[in-house]
Subunit: 182 residues, 4 copies
Amino acid sequence: MFAQNGYTGTSVADIAARADIGKGTIYEYFNSKEDLFFAVFEWYCKKTGAAVTVSISVLGASAAQRLDALNGSLMSLWDEIKDVFVLVMEFWAAASSSKMRQRFQIAFKQLYQDFRRIVSDLIVDGISRGEFREDIDPEAVAAALVGTWDALFLQAWFDPIFDPLEISQKFLAVVIQGLKKS
Amino acid sequence: MFAQNGYTGTSVADIAARADIGKGTIYEYFNSKEDLFFAVFEWYCKKTGAAVTVSISVLGASAAQRLDALNGSLMSLWDEIKDVFVLVMEFWAAASSSKMRQRFQIAFKQLYQDFRRIVSDLIVDGISRGEFREDIDPEAVAAALVGTWDALFLQAWFDPIFDPLEISQKFLAVVIQGLKKS
Amino acid sequence: MFAQNGYTGTSVADIAARADIGKGTIYEYFNSKEDLFFAVFEWYCKKTGAAVTVSISVLGASAAQRLDALNGSLMSLWDEIKDVFVLVMEFWAAASSSKMRQRFQIAFKQLYQDFRRIVSDLIVDGISRGEFREDIDPEAVAAALVGTWDALFLQAWFDPIFDPLEISQKFLAVVIQGLKKS
Amino acid sequence: MFAQNGYTGTSVADIAARADIGKGTIYEYFNSKEDLFFAVFEWYCKKTGAAVTVSISVLGASAAQRLDALNGSLMSLWDEIKDVFVLVMEFWAAASSSKMRQRFQIAFKQLYQDFRRIVSDLIVDGISRGEFREDIDPEAVAAALVGTWDALFLQAWFDPIFDPLEISQKFLAVVIQGLKKS
DNA sequence: TATGAATGAGTCTTCATTCAT
DNA sequence: CATGAATGAAGACTCATTCAT
C-alpha cells in the first residue's frame, strides 16, 4: 500500500482493513506507523540485498564477464521490483523528511557502502588478474556504477518505454572497454 | 521550506508565516498546496535546465573535452544545490504518490528526455567527428550518464564524505576511454 | 462540562459542540485540552479569590467579628459555587496526576499560601489589638481554618443534608472563644 | 499504581504487568477497571478506618487528652500515608466524575459520617463529664475537626514544607481552649 | 487585494475488554 | 484457572481550505 499511495497517502486504518485485522492489532506488532514503514524498508533491503549477493556468488570467469552477469541479474530484478520500486522513492523521501531522517539516512548510507564494496572488489579482482588497467580507481568506478543502476531504474519507472536492460548492457560494454588494458 | 521539511512536513501556514503574508493570500496565487509545490518543481526544473544548457554552449574543442566540461559544470552545481537537493527526492516521491502522480511523472519524463538528448547529441557529434567509435549507441550511453550524475548526487547526499566531483571525473575518464576509437 | 463529567469524561469534541463551534477553533485559543483545563482553573481561582478579597475589605470592627464576616461571605459563596465545586476535586486530581502535576501543584501551593496569609494577618491584627491571646500561633490557626473551610465544602458536596454555614458558624464560635483572652 | 499515576494514568495492562499476571486474569477477579478501583477504595477505607478506631480505643483520661491523642495518632499516619494520599484525591475525583459518582459518593458520605460520629461521641463524653461547655454543638465541632484533618493533609501534600503535626497540635489547643468550661 | 478566524474531515494512537486456547 | 492476541470505539490534535471583512 505504501508503494501504491506513498507513506502519507496510506493510513494505518487502510492497512488494517487491507490486512483484514483491527487497527489496534497493528500496534501489537509495531510501535508506530513509522516503525512499520521502517520494517518495510528493512524487508526491501534484505530482499534486494539477497538478490545481489546471490548473483555475485554464481558468477564465474573473467571480471568483465562477472560484471556483465551482475548487471544482468540486477536488471532481471527489474520486472520483479517494478511495482514496488516506488517504495524506494518513498524511502529516499523518508530519509530526507526531518522526522525519520536519521534512521533511514544511516541505513541508506550503509546500503550503498555495502553495494559499492561488492562492485569495487570485483574491479580490484579484475585489476589483479591483469585484465583491467592499473591506473583506474576501483572505488570511484564502483560508486558510479552503483549509481547508474539505481538511476536507470528511476528513469525506467518514469518512462515505460525505457528499457533498462538493453541500455545497461550497452553502457557496461563501453565501461568495460574503458577498463580493459589496451 | 519544502527542502527543509518535505512536502508533508511543511504546512501552508508555515509558508505564509515565512513569506510574511496571510494564509489566505497564498490562495490568491495558487489553487492549492499541491499547485504551489508543482510551481516550485517547475522553478527548479527551469533553474537546473538553464545551468546545463549554459554549460553546454560554452564548451569548445573535442567531444571528450566537452563531456568533461559538462561533467565539471554539473558537479560544480553540487555545492549550490546540496541544500535544495532534498527537493528532488520530494519531487520523486510526489511523482509516485498517487495523488500528484501524473503531473510530476510527465514532467520528469520530459526532463530526462531533454537531458538525455543534450548528452546524446554530444556523443553523436563525437562519432561524426571520428573521435568516438561507431558501434556504440549514443542514446544508451547518454541515458546511463544522465542517471549516473543523478545518482552521484544522491549518494553524496546520504554520505557527506562522498566526493561526487572526484568520482565523476575518474569514472568519466574510463567511459571516455571506452568511447574512443582504439 | 468539566464540572459535570470531569476532565477525562469531557472530550474536546463535546466542548466544541456545546460551545457551538468547530473542534479546530478551540485549538486557535488553547494549545491543548490541558491548557484549556488550566485556563478554567485560573478562572476559578480568580473568581473565588476575588470573593475572599472583597469580603475582607468590607469587614469592620473587631477581629472576631471580621473572622465571622469572612466565614459568612465564604459560606454564602457555597450556593454559588455548589455546582462547580466538583471542579476543585478535578483540580486536586489534576495536581496529582503525573502529567499536569507541576503546573497545578505550584498554583495550588500559591493559592493556599495567599489565603492563609489573609487569615493570619487577620489574627495577628486581633492579637495586636489585645483581643486575642498572645501565645497562639497565627499561621497555624490560619492554615487550619483555611483547611476547615475547604473541607466543609467537601463534606457538603458529598452530603446534601450537611449545612456548612451552620456548622462553620458554630465551630468558629468555639475557635474564637479559644483565641480570646480569658 | 493508582497512587502514582492516577486512575486514568494507570492502564489495566500496567497493573497486570506489575502484578506479574495476565491481563485477562484481572477480569477473573474484577468485572471492570472501575470495580478494581472501587476495591482499592474499600481497602483504603478499611485501613484508615481501623487506624482511627484503634487510636480511639487506646486513649485514656480526659476528653481533651483523648482528642489530643486522636490528633497525634492521625498525624503520625501522615508519613505512612503521604505517598498514597494522592489516592484520596483520585477517590474524590472519582466521586465527582459522572460515571462512578454514585458508588463513591455514597461510600464517602458514610465514611465521613462514621468519622464524625467517633469525634462527636468523644465531645459528648467531654460535655457529660463536665469538662466541656454545654452550649456547644458536638456534631458541628466534630464535622469541622474531621474536615480540618483532611484539609491539613491536602495542604501538606501540596507544600512539602507544611508540617501538619505541629499545626494541628497548635490549632487543637485553641479549639480545646474554646471547648473548655471557663 | 489581503487577511486570518473558523472549520471539520481525517490522522495516529490508546486501552478496556473479550474469548479461544 | 490463566492467558494474551485481537479488537474497535473513542480521543486529541492537525491542517488545507474557505469566506466574510
